[in-house]
């Protein structure tokens, strides 16, 4: 049931996300430095870090077992699979025959499950606290994401990402109020899940380190960091494919060679992702950090927006 071209496009998407993710993360680092009136690192600094880490020796605490060693691999595999599931360059989900948006949400849960366990396995204080924090945020945010996506699925009467994306693109689902509100709530959720400031630890803060990442080192740390960059970019891609799919190719127009049309829509996609990162960086740096127990006070607004979106869906506007 899967055609060769969609297998190739899926792999291409996974590869592009893999290669571009550190760049976007570097971009937001640069923006952050500029807003602090610092010179900041080069936009390519993340690549250098990754290559360097890859070559370093890995240090593993004695209590760590196979889950700790396995986590970097499964996390990256899950992110790659999600990247191949989301309609990025076309409106078709390349691996749409494998699963739908519910699978996407639960694949995130898979990576988070192992991420949190790896933090606990080392017996490290920071790993444990970070795992706890990661899971608390997820209980606050994941339901919001799912409700918004579910409302979109109700509008499309399908949970298939291809169908939702196509219907939005060709205007079969007009931009109702409920879609706008859903977009707002989802953007908020993506912002939180990207690990941006009010909800997450900035780089190398001593008191919390980086949560479950604390004990990772060498190539394992490189893979973990890379997966986290990918996670951020994949979330943005999901947002774009559901809410702003304009510019994507609908089923490869006959006149144009597949290659050209995919490249064109890829360019549009990169631009959209860049804008999202830019806005996220603006918001991040305009905000103060809060105690994480207060996180729920802020996320309720996201839940509120999601529920409003649902209410507007019920009222058909």
């Amino acid at each position: 049931m899967i055609s060769i071209s969609s297998i190739l496009i899926g792999l291409l998407q996974a590869l592009v996300i893999l290669l571009a993710a550190p760049l976007y993360s570097g971009f937001s680092r640069v923006l952050r430095a500029k807003m602090h009136n610092r010179r900041g690192p080069s936009i390519f600094q993340n690549y250098r870090d990754l290559v360097k880490l890859m070559k370093r020796q890995e240090v593993i605490p004695q209590q760590a077992g196979w889950i700790f060693r396995f986590t970097p691999f499964i996390t990256m595999a899950a992110m790659l699979l999600i990247a191949a599931l989301i309609p990025i360059f076309t409106t078709q989900s390349p691996y749409g025959q494998v699963g739908d948006l519910i699978l996407v949400v639960y694949l995130y849960a898979l990576s988070r499950f192992f991420f949190a366990l790896s933090g606990l396995e080392t017996g490290s204080t920071f790993g444990g606290i970070g795992a706890r924090r990661e899971l608390l945020i997820s209980t606050l945010i994941e339901p919001v994401m799912l409700l918004v996506l579910f409302v979109m699925a109700l509008l499309a009467t399908s949970t298939n990402l291809s169908v939702i994306s196509t219907k939005i693109l060709i205007g079969q689902i007009p931009y109702y109020t409920s879609v706008w509100l859903g977009m707002l709530a989802f953007a908020f959720a993506v912002f939180v899940e990207m690990g941006k400031i009010p909800f997450d630890l900035a780089e190398a803060e001593q008191e919390l380190q980086e949560g479950p990442l604390t004990e990772f080192s060498g190539r394992a740390l490189a893979l973990m960091k890379w997966s986290i960059y990918m996670k951020q970019m994949v979330l943005v891609a999901l947002f774009i494919s559901v809410f702003l799919p304009f510019g994507n190719v609908i089923r490869f127009p006959a006149g144009m060679p597949l290659f050209v049309s995919v490249v064109l829509s890829a360019l549009v996609f990169f631009l959209k992702v860049m804008i999202f990162y830019f806005i996220a960086a603006l918001l991040e740096n305009a905000m103060a950090r809060v105690r994480f127990l207060k996180a729920s006070n802020i996320t309720w607004t996201a839940l509120g927006a999601a529920i409003l979106s649902f209410v507007f869906y019920l009222a058909n506007v």
Binding site: Q57, P61, D100, G123, R219
Partner: protein, 672 residues
């Protein structure tokens, strides 16, 4: 032999095993091996019955008798077959497991334990196949009683007795309600046969009354919030293999009861029935998960997690009932399919988790999460099995829990086709709550697994632990395989379960799977392929491996250090996070919902207090009865006795005189 005779054979094997183990009670080791092995053989026979019934639905077997309340009818339609399948598969694993596990209780009379375990399984097999209300109730109550004896097996502990008492109270209250429901049927049909119930046209009010009675009655057994209070103490008190049987199998008989009575016999004609079931399902799912998070006793965590999963199953049933009332074919099918699939899955992963908890208890002698830690290295296979169960209960793809929750979401999506406003509001909100439940379940699983099997050992017992014996590992392995196959095999299982649903509701048959794919009736709505997920995830693992190769990461190697990093201070085991500190932020964030627990508890306490008063007044009433009835009777008997003694003089001539006198009187009477 046809399926039903095989089933009866299986019941007899269980019964025989129980009796044999009772007789061999003194020889503890032999008793536990006998009861375990006969249990496994009985379960295997049950599986053969299921295989036969899956090929062709057997004709109901009627053992006619002279009793006025009807015939002893056994039937194995699709629903019963699925239930027999669940019971047989789980009891196979549990029986093998308990061969070694029962050794944990070597000071107790293991004969009795084996007797009640086997009897319990045999009765469950009967309860899901019997098609006569009178015998159903009889067996249902016997099943409750035998499980009561399993709960109170460690009767020397005070909390065990209390747990058993609470269980008994709620289970019997539920039993009475079910009895009333059947009684209403009996008055109108003058028969106890399910076949007669199915045909009767009850008035709407009476129909709803029967529904409410049955739903609450079975809901109490299923552990629906707010009737769940008996479960955590009971499961925590019962030996782990019995707890596994109760959580993964006995509760399913309650689900069976709801499906049989509310859906099969009553037909779920009214919309509000479904909405009520959905409401209690959602309530149980969310509250069960939240409360599980706060527990530090491994088995209590699992008990609350069962409440949560019952909630998910009830949500599926509720959606199916809404679909029936609204004549929405797809919604009906998806709702019931999701419920049945989750019933099957929950039996496997919850059984697995309870057996895992038992395995830890067997070696450590504690269920307190704060005293475990680091067991992953010492008990590797137990740890791996528990991890699989934990992943499945958190609905992580590609394991079985994910597939059934996926179908639950798909059934909620059919809300878009509903005419009724409440349905259009309720179902998407249930999707929200299911998502919340999913994340909470993952948090519970991570907390339980993490604090038991990971990090440093937190007690002397944990440091000295070693892997459990082979029989226990075999039992767990069977369930691990089940969890994996139920996920991977979705394209085979979904069509079968869909068939069961259509047969139960007398609907036309449908196609829901093709090749490696399953879809919710309409492939346009969604497609899922679990085998492909596994294939792709495994295949994509190559990418990180290649990255390491490309960047020469393999050469740097790795080094193991003794301690995790602690800001430059000396590391101490006490620095690692415990179960208690893990859930603390949740209690802050969801404070309101935890307060609700206190609110639920107070009426429950009131009921318990009332029951206690009843018991006390019975004790007070006893002396009154004594003085009015018993004492005068005793006095009269004594008085008579003393006066009759006067006749008894001890003189042989006097006795001769009595004999002659008697003869004379008799002769006079006869020849008069």
């Amino acid at each position: 032999m046809d399926a039903i005779r095989l089933l009866l054979l299986s019941v007899f094997v269980f019964g025989f095993g129980g009796l044999a183990s009772l007789l061999l009670g003194r020889l503890r080791r032999i008793a536990r091996i006998t009861s375990g092995l006969t249990g496994a053989i009985g379960a295997a026979t049950g599986l053969m019955a299921v295989a036969r019934a899956m090929i062709s639905t057997p004709v109901p077997l009627t053992l006619s008798n002279q009793f006025p309340f009807g015939n002893f009818v056994l039937q194995m339609d699709g629903l019963s077959t699925v239930m027999v399948g669940i019971i047989s598969l789980i009891s196979l694993a549990v029986s093998v497991y308990s061969i070694s596990y029962a050794g944990h209780y070597s000071k107790h009379n293991l004969g009795i334990f084996g007797f009640f375990t086997n009897l319990f399984i045999a009765l469950m097999l009967l309860v899901v196949t019997i098609a006569n209300a009178f015998y159903f109730l009889l067996i249902w109550e016997m099943m409750t009683l035998s499980s009561y004896f399993l709960v109170t097996f460690e009767s020397e502990k005070k909390e065990t007795i209390q747990a058993g008492y609470l269980y008994m109270l709620i289970a019997h209250a539920g039993g009475v309600l079910i009895m009333l429901a059947f009684f209403i049927f009996f008055i109108t049909t003058n028969s106890f046969n399910f076949a007669a119930f199915r045909q009767v046209g009850l008035s709407p009010a009476l129909r709803s009354l029967v529904f409410l009675l049955a739903f609450i009655g079975f809901g109490a057994k299923a552990g629906m919030v707010p009737l769940h209070v008996w479960m955590p103490p009971a499961y925590s008190a019962a030996p782990s293999d019995s707890a596994a049987l109760m959580a993964s199998v006995m509760k399913k008989t309650a689900i069976y009861g709801i499906l049989r009575i509310c859906v099969d016999l009553l037909g779920a004609p009214f919309l509000w029935w479904g909405i009520l079931v959905l409401f209690f399902g959602a309530l149980s799912a969310v509250l069960g998960a939240l409360y599980a998070l706060m527990e530090h006793d491994m088995k209590r965590v699992l008990a609350y997690s069962s409440v949560e999963n019952m909630g998910i199953i009830l949500m599926g049933i509720g959606t199916g009932m809404i679909g029936l009332a609204e004549h929405q074919f797809t919604m009906t099918l998806l709702g019931f399919l999701a419920a049945l699939y989750h019933t099957l899955n929950h039996a496997f992963f919850k059984g697995l988790l309870f057996l895992g908890a038992g395995s830890v208890d067997y070696r450590l002698g504690t269920r307190d999460l704060n005293q475990m830690g680091g067991l992953g290295k010492l008990m590797p296979w137990t740890s791996f099995s528990f991890l699989i169960g934990a992943l499945a209960v958190s609905a992580i793809p590609p394991l079985n829990g994910f597939v059934s929750e996926w179908f639950t979401y798909q059934s909620f999506l059919r809300a878009s086709g509903s005419q009724d406003f409440i349905v259009r509001v309720a179902l998407p909100l249930c999707a929200l709550l299911l998502a919340l439940t999913g994340t909470l379940a993952a948090m519970i699983a991570i907390k339980t697994y993490g604090s038991a099997f990971m990090g440093p050992e937190r007690s002397e017992k944990a440091r000295n632990a070693k892997e459990s014996p082979g029989a226990m590992l075999t039992g767990m392995t069977l369930l691990v395989i089940g969890c994996i196959l139920l996920g991977l095999g979705a394209p085979l299982i979904v069509p079968y379960l869909a068939n069961v649903v259509t047969q139960l509701l007398r609907l036309p048959s449908v196609t829901m799977a093709q090749g490696l794919w399953v879809y919710p009736l309409n492939p346009y709505q969604a497609i899922l392929s679990v085998p492909l997920i596994v294939l792709l995830l495994a295949g994509l693992l190559i990418v990180p491996l290649m990255l390491i190769l490309i960047f020469n990461g393999g050469q740097a190697g790795s080094r193991v250090v003794s301690e995790p990093w602690a800001c430059g201070y000396g590391y101490s085991n006490r620095m690692s996070i415990t179960a208690g500190s893990f859930d603390q932020p949740m209690s802050v964030t969801f404070r309101g919902l935890y307060l609700l627990r206190v609110a639920i508890r107070s009426p429950m306490n009131a009921i318990a207090a009332w029951a206690k008063r009843v018991r006390e007044s019975i004790l007070r009433a006893e002396p009154v009865l004594e003085s009015v009835i018993k004492q005068p009777t005793t006095r009269a008997v004594e008085y008579l006795g003393q006066h009759i003694q006067a006749l008894q003089m001890g003189d042989i001539r006097m006795y001769c005189f009595y004999i002659i006198l008697t003869l004379a009187i008799l002769l006079l009477v006869i020849f008069r």
